[in-house]
Symmetry: C2
Subunit: 176 residues, 2 copies
């Protein structure tokens, strides 16, 4: 089971607010596979999903063979939704000061991996599926990040081209 780091002043910048986490979790997730990328450190990673897409790096998802039959039909999708577990971050920040902005913002208004449940959602382009391996473009995470779900992307409900993130308007793409 992934452990979050102990709450520590060392993890809280000026202007940030942390919280005492609940004594226990309420449900358990299975790691169903791993995402393989060329990036071993956060510094090497694309800054966000937009940059990942621009770079165009092909990354590989290796699904635990136990779940392989559940891929049936997914190969007909051009894009898929990945949910993955950011297993190397703290979970106790309510307000964060991303270095890109220098302004405190609520965790739920950011796509930062630091959140009570460190689950990232990315829409990626599916190139191919061979056995239990998928090749995708658009991942921005560290090598070895645990996968927790794959879903088909339905533009009819998932695509909202005119949605606005007011605090971010005029900038380019999400940054954490």
């Amino acid at each position: 089971m992934a452990q979050s780091p102990d709450k520590s002043e060392a993890f809280v910048r000026e202007g940030e607010i942390s919280v005492e986490l609940p004594a226990q979790t309420d449900a358990g997730v299975y790691f169903i596979g791993r995402i393989h990328t060329p990036w071993q450190t956060r510094k090497e990673c694309p800054k966000n999903a937009g940059e990942a897409r621009e770079r165009g790096t092909v990354c590989t998802i290796e699904l635990d063979p136990r779940w392989q039959p559940a891929l049936k039909g997914l190969e007909t999708c051009t894009h898929i939704i990945l949910l993955y577990w950011m297993d190397r971050v703290q979970r106790d920040l309510l307000v964060q000061v991303p270095s890109t902005y220098g302004v405190g913002r609520g965790t739920f208004s950011l796509r930062s991996p630091v959140r009570p449940n460190p689950i990232a959602m990315s829409v990626v382009k599916l190139l191919k599926i061979e056995g239990n391996r998928l090749e995708v473009v658009g991942v921005d995470c560290l090598d070895g990040t645990p996968l927790i779900d794959l879903k088909p992307y339905f533009p009819s409900v998932d695509s909202i081209p005119d949605a606005v993130v007011g605090w971010h308007a005029g900038r380019n793409g999400p940054k954490d």
Copy 2:
């Protein structure tokens, strides 16, 4: 902690494939709030996110007050991503035969709540935030469903209008 029902023939239709779940989970999630909807049974629920949006029912998210400061800035968003925990479903089906289709499809090619990690992702319209309560349109879940994350929706990376789900092409919106 949410328990999945015991694996049982009663839960497996003809053409479906189930799997033995791993002996233990790998990480824990906190339920950070609850989603309140008018629907007490699956029969009453909208069939999918498309139908939820058409109905236009305003639903309320009640965030645990512990996390309320993390909402700061989210009120500037027109649309948000909800991740929630489908706590009343089995988790062991690899291939499912949704009654809508009558054809077996892999769990990861469907948006069905039945999956190894029963996490649903919905893009909803944000109407307002007051204290720890959010009013949204587009939710299709049962009353009381546990919330696990809120994120801003960035069209620059989340909106792919021309994505295709091949097996579904020609139908209207996702159905489970």
